[in-house]
Subunit: 327 residues, 2 copies
Amino acid sequence: MPFRALGRLHDFSERICAIQKSLHPKIDRKAVVIMAADHGVVAEGVSAYPQEVTCEMIKAFLSGGAGINVLAGQAGADMIVVDMGIRTDLQPAHLQADSRLHVMKIARGTANMLKGPAMSRQQARQSIMIGFQIASDQIAAGAQLLGTGDMGIGNTTASAAIGAVITAMDPDAMVGPGTGVDNSGLARKCDIVRGAIEMNRPDPADGLDVLAKVGGFEIGGIAGCILAGAYHRCPVVIDGFISTAGALVAERICTKVKDYLFAGHCSAEPGHHHMLAHLKLEPILNLGMRLGEGTGAALAMHILAGAVNIFNQMFTFEQAGVSGQNP
Amino acid sequence: MPFRALGRLHDFSERICAIQKSLHPKIDRKAVVIMAADHGVVAEGVSAYPQEVTCEMIKAFLSGGAGINVLAGQAGADMIVVDMGIRTDLQPAHLQADSRLHVMKIARGTANMLKGPAMSRQQARQSIMIGFQIASDQIAAGAQLLGTGDMGIGNTTASAAIGAVITAMDPDAMVGPGTGVDNSGLARKCDIVRGAIEMNRPDPADGLDVLAKVGGFEIGGIAGCILAGAYHRCPVVIDGFISTAGALVAERICTKVKDYLFAGHCSAEPGHHHMLAHLKLEPILNLGMRLGEGTGAALAMHILAGAVNIFNQMFTFEQAGVSGQNP
């Protein structure tokens, strides 16, 4: 075809070839891993929704009516839900037997990061190891493309704190409305992020320290998934604001993970593009989405599939008997 | 879900509901219509590729190795190819019997618009009527979403001329490298567009006049498809630079067509975003593509499908038993 006439599709397929070390890239088997956890900082009134919603949404994922069910289904991706540390136990109990659910509770929510570290360094390490193991299992079971997703009331607050620390930007630029706090809520959320950073003084160079002090269990789980993707040469498409906070943590632990990442979309959460710029990732989609759950990652999988299909199936001009450029 | 948390997906599904006058929108059956024709202005050396490529690419579409075969196939869309006026006859002759090909030759290419009008007003009307009929037949056969595509060596030159006339912008802003002319070729192409406009003085308010004087048969066919989509309440997703030139012509004939259009993507051809801005259409994708054939339209169909699937399948918080916002 005319030189690189499919634009970024060429970049995508080349990167997947490089990641998979293959000129026959394959992303037929896909999985979206949704990491879920609760956040102690919700006690400060940072969210528009009550904390029960974290658990209720896990039920919705398993029942099949959530946004990610629709979009992962459309993309032909399996969905895995990991309870990294929600406050409650899933009711009714039989839901816990669903093979798509992995109960790996580290604790019943993080501690309030305004009063001290959200979790211990040991718990931070544990969250990453769980994410690494879950993703490794998916890859061992045949997944050729992973998507990350999140669920956790309060997690835009933790993600904004991680973003502010690692990108060295002011919390003002990183804090957004999340699921929809109003203006006074936004100002309070900003104060809380600033206060949590001042109280805990996380070391921006130490991803584990940032995760422990102002992060969340699901964010550690996402970081672990990303590290596993890089380790096993499996491309990972991250979702929005929370997944990218996980990517920032993973990148502090191992810079090379960036080479294995695709940014599914740019979220409407205003700090997200700063995070992506820090990671030098250009989003695939830009549709003003801010639902989380992995919805942006799932939708972007169609574009990556298009890139790989073009690479594998399209003829060259020579194969198709089409004349070349004028001399 | 949190208010409009899926961003533009909500806009897309609402628009499709409005177009189809239904709260159960359906875009299961999709078709990409590729309009093909040759251009007399190629004699001026405006293209990086020889004119034979138009016909050779039609063969490639029917043989199955072109970009649009891959991406329409992935999107589950049928592909229709219309010979609106290519110079040669398709060889070997048995290809003409392929049911996906419609031979509706208006002439063996347009006249050279630098020397006079590209076609007569009667031919311009004919090209639109053919496009209207082809699209109407697809809709009658069950298509619920149409995509437009193009093939025609020289057609970025004609499209740039249409764009310059209708948007009232300088040809400098509208002319780009197309399939890849070099810098001196680009300057020549710009002079030719400027010369063709000065010679023919098309009336910007009269879409048929613009099409006749500086357009192409495939561009008229695309305009006809767009008018048919609006007439039959079928959403149409346009591809890139050439399809949008067709949309500009259609919009001059009937302003309301804009309400039935989706812009699949923003092309790398530099004038494209000016055309889209004139039509007040925001592109769905922005991936630097510039292959034509309908490839951008086909890829965007996944996003529109996502919007419709979310609208039809996702539960409300109430249905899913999820708590509402904090009081």
